[in-house]
């Protein structure tokens, strides 16, 4: 009897195990992704009501805009229903990748130049070029900054439309109240790095409660991009295959940064930080703070604690302050069955109206000259400065192998000993950093 039962159990287990393992493996098998199509222009517009699922990165300003624009868009396009599916920024790429693998990707999605996100989405087969859609819809590309369009053009293909854009870490936020109290003049366009250091010294208090200037070291890659440009150098070579931090001018730029922390002692070292850098800025603990245009949203947090204003980066030996186009885009996915409708929605999000509304909500605005120059936005004095910087912004450069995130993460770690004072900016140290980043640049494309 027992033998008979054992046989039954074995047979049963064998059959169910094989079936379940088969099921499990089938479930885990990657779903083939459609090869990036050459745009969906060939597909005829639907006559029935279609649903567009669009994926966005969660952001207070952006979500407010989407919630504002979706009803307006659906009213203007009664045959299209837009459904927003937004995900936290830190998990956005993983979520999109999971949807690609699971075959559940929607019709349009947010992407960005930052971290080579859009390049990766292209290589992954998530997004489709929009060149044909642009042509068939007679879209005038001159609406957007040329630098923005170049930033999201990969392998000669335009991968979306510029949604929002800013000129990188090219803005110095300053505490006007503190500067007045120190009896100094506020920074103006054309000011120099020597003047910046002097002002930072004047704004640094002996009790350690206020520091004169905090450069954007939490995103040291972007800081180095603009700073090296102010020295007449590029962080990446023209073909973006060589990391140039240890060049002669690169060394000068790194030394300038190091001196802010260790020689002039005007920047808070890691053990002198009180919370995040934006918290220090909005609590009046910094005289000057380097940021992108999005830092302006902290104006609401600052309230009437102190007066603040912005200036372009101080001019360095290279004759410029340094800037770098940063672009967010909205794209049409390869998975969509309704490319025309998805592109309608993309155009709507990248329109002048959306760009201005973004600015009125606060933070970074649309990547268009008519948005940066819109009277509704220019009534805010800081946006006048943003416009001047944006109109002259320098072109972006992304690592040729698109391993931008990896390189940025590594540089952030490797440079930390400088701010902490554990290392000095010797040629050997910077050579070591350069070599490790170069190793990443030497890897093949993902």
């Amino acid at each position: 009897m027992a033998t008979q039962q054992t046989m039954t159990r074995r047979s049963f287990l064998r059959a169910t195990s094989m079936a379940s393992v088969g099921l499990a493996l089938a479930a885990c098998a990657p779903v083939p992704v459609a090869a990036p199509a050459a745009g969906g222009a060939a597909a005829a517009p639907s006559t029935d009501k279609v649903q567009i699922r669009f994926h966005a990165r969660i952001g207070a300003q952006e979500d407010a805009l989407y919630d504002m624009q979706i009803p307006k868009f659906m009213e203007a396009h009664p045959n299209i229903e837009v459904v927003k599916e937004s995900f936290p920024g830190a998990e956005y790429n993983a979520k999109i990748s999971t949807m690609v693998a699971g075959g559940t990707l929607g019709d349009s999605c947010w992407s960005a130049l930052g971290g080579a996100t859009i390049q990766f989405a292209w290589s992954q087969g998530t997004i489709t070029p929009v060149d044909d859609l642009v042509a068939s819809n007679n879209v005038d590309l001159k609406q957007w900054y040329e630098g923005c369009l170049k930033g999201i053009t990969v392998d000669g293909k335009l991968l979306g439309l510029p949604f929002k854009s800013h000129p990188g870490l090219a803005v110095i936020y300053y505490n006007e109240t503190a500067i007045e109290a120190a009896g100094k003049e506020v920074p103006k366009a054309g000011w120099t790095q020597e003047q910046q250091v002097e002002l930072a010294k004047a704004l640094t208090t002996a009790d350690g409660k206020q520091f004169g200037y905090l450069p954007g070291i939490t995103n040291i890659w972007k800081t180095c991009v603009t700073l090296l440009r102010s020295y007449g150098e590029q962080l990446l070579s023209e073909d973006a295959t060589k990391f140039q931090l240890n060049s002669e001018k690169g060394m000068q730029a790194v030394t300038f940064l190091y001196d802010l922390f260790q020689t002039h002692k005007v920047a808070p070292k890691p053990d002198q930080m009180v919370g995040a850098d934006t918290e220090m800025w909005s609590n009046g603990l910094l005289g000057m703070y380097q940021g992108g245009t999005s830092v302006s949203v902290f104006g609401k947090t600052i309230g009437d604690k102190f007066k603040w204003m912005v200036a372009p980066n101080a001019i360095g030996p290279g004759g410029v302050g340094g800037s770098d186009y940063e672009v967010d885009a909205h794209c049409v996915t390869t998975a969509t069955k309704h490319p025309n409708e998805a592109f309608e929605w993309v155009q709507f999000l990248c329109s002048k109206d959306s760009g201005i509304q973004l600015g009125l909500i606060g933070g970074t605005v649309g990547g268009r000259p008519d948005v940066y120059g819109a009277p509704e936005l220019l009534k805010f004095p800081f946006r006048v400065v943003f416009k001047e910087i944006m109109d002259n912004a320098q072109a972006s450069r992304i690592t040729a192998n698109w391993r931008q995130s990896e390189a940025e993460a590594a540089l952030l770690q490797l440079m930390q000993p400088l701010w902490a004072g554990n290392e000095k900016p010797t040629q050997a140290f910077v050579d070591g950093v350069t070599s490790q980043i170069q190793d990443i640049l030497n890897k093949p494309k993902p």
């Binding site: 009897m1 008979q4 039962q5 046989m7 039954t8 159990r9 049963f12 169910t16 195990s17 379940s20 393992v21 099921l23 499990a24 493996l25 479930a27 885990c28 098998a29 990657p30 083939p32 992704v33 998990e91 790429n93 993983a94 990748s97 999971t98 690609v100 693998a101 990766f120 290589s123 992954q124 087969g125 998530t126 890691p270 053990d271 002198q272 930080m273 009180v274 919370g275 391993r403 995130s405 990896e406 993460a409 952030l412 770690q413 490797l414 930390q416 000993p417 902490a420 554990n422 490790q436 190793d439 993902p446």
Partner: protein, 303 residues
């Protein structure tokens, strides 16, 4: 009477089917959500795969890269081992001490047990943020208390030297009074009082009773806690990810962070799968060695 066949009687067959049906949700769940992904990841570890597209077979190249090319692989493994040894040794000792304290007959014992257990219930994100502030070099409570006794506290999480000890400290705070202590407590309550009394009559002092009776009898519990501790501590991730992002200067770049960043920031899924399998093999070897070595020091009363 039920008719018997080579599959047993009808009732036996029905009972067997019912039994399989009862366990089938777990079995199917295990096969689909655990075993299936594991087998899939083993295959992916032999490919170049970034999600989307077809995995490209590259044989053992990912493993070769980990062992010979990746400059962060060995340091992250060494760092994890350091964290693991320190946190398991200290954690097991402190949990045992806490359990012994709470095993005494004293007033308010249940309240103390609850108080010791509470930190382990703190969500990991809250824990990381809370300790981030407590260990803030400038405004943190820890350095403030140290300054009151004339000690200038270190930079803790932002200091290359102190970052891992800080993570160990945080880990101990949340784990000493947690499940490990409860298991020790249960083990201690299973030590017969008669043995202690007999040893006392024979002249054994408190240390000898502890060493030769308590420790001996709870040695299987110690082994269990050490095994789980090693596995758990090798998986250290959340606190380092939230509080330090692996910094400063890779000081808290543990193995799981390395795996995570490769998988979900750089999307090198094939390589990350290889890292996961290396991790799995390491854990298996460590567990095997511990069980093998346990023959020398673990006492099973009923073996």
């Amino acid at each position: 009477m039920s008719k018997s066949s080579r599959f047993g009687t009808r009732i036996q067959r029905l009972e067997a089917i019912e039994g399989y049906l009862w366990i089938s949700p777990w079995v199917i769940g295990f096969l689909v959500f655990s075993l299936g992904p594991m087998v899939a990841s083993l295959y992916l570890s032999l490919t170049k795969y970034k999600i989307g597209g077809t995995p490209e077979w590259i044989g053992l190249a990912n493993y070769k890269e980990a062992f010979t090319v990746d400059k962060l692989f060995w340091p992250s493994l060494g760092r994890t081992a350091y964290f693991s040894i320190a946190s398991v040794v200290l954690g097991v000792i402190l949990s045992l001490l806490a359990a012994m304290l709470l095993n005494q007959n004293m007033k308010g014992r249940n309240i103390f047990r609850a108080l010791f257990y509470l930190p382990s219930l703190t969500p990991i994100v809250a824990l990381a943020i809370l300790w981030g502030w407590l260990l803030n070099p400038k405004l943190g409570l820890v350095n403030y208390l140290l300054s009151m006794i004339g000690i200038q506290g270190p930079g803790w999480l932002v200091d290359q030297t102190w970052a891992v000890p800080s993570i160990i400290l945080i880990s101990l705070w949340s784990s000493v009074g947690g499940g490990r202590m409860i298991i020790f407590l249960a083990g201690l309550q299973g030590v017969p009082k008669e043995l202690h009394e007999a040893a006392e009559i024979d002249g054994a002092n408190a240390y000898h009773r502890f060493r030769h009776i308590t420790i001996a009898l709870i040695s299987p519990v110690i082994l269990f806690n050490v095994l789980l501790g090693i596995i758990g501590s090798f998986s250290v991730f959340s606190v380092a990810y939230i509080a330090t992002s692996g910094g400063p200067n890779y000081a808290t770049w543990f193995f799981m962070l390395h795996l995570y960043y490769n998988a979900f920031s750089y999307f090198q899924m094939g390589y990350a799968s290889a890292l996961a399998w290396i991790f799995f093999v390491i854990i298996c070897i460590l567990s095997y060695l511990q069980i093998k070595l346990s023959n020398r020091w673990v006492y099973y009363e009923f073996s």
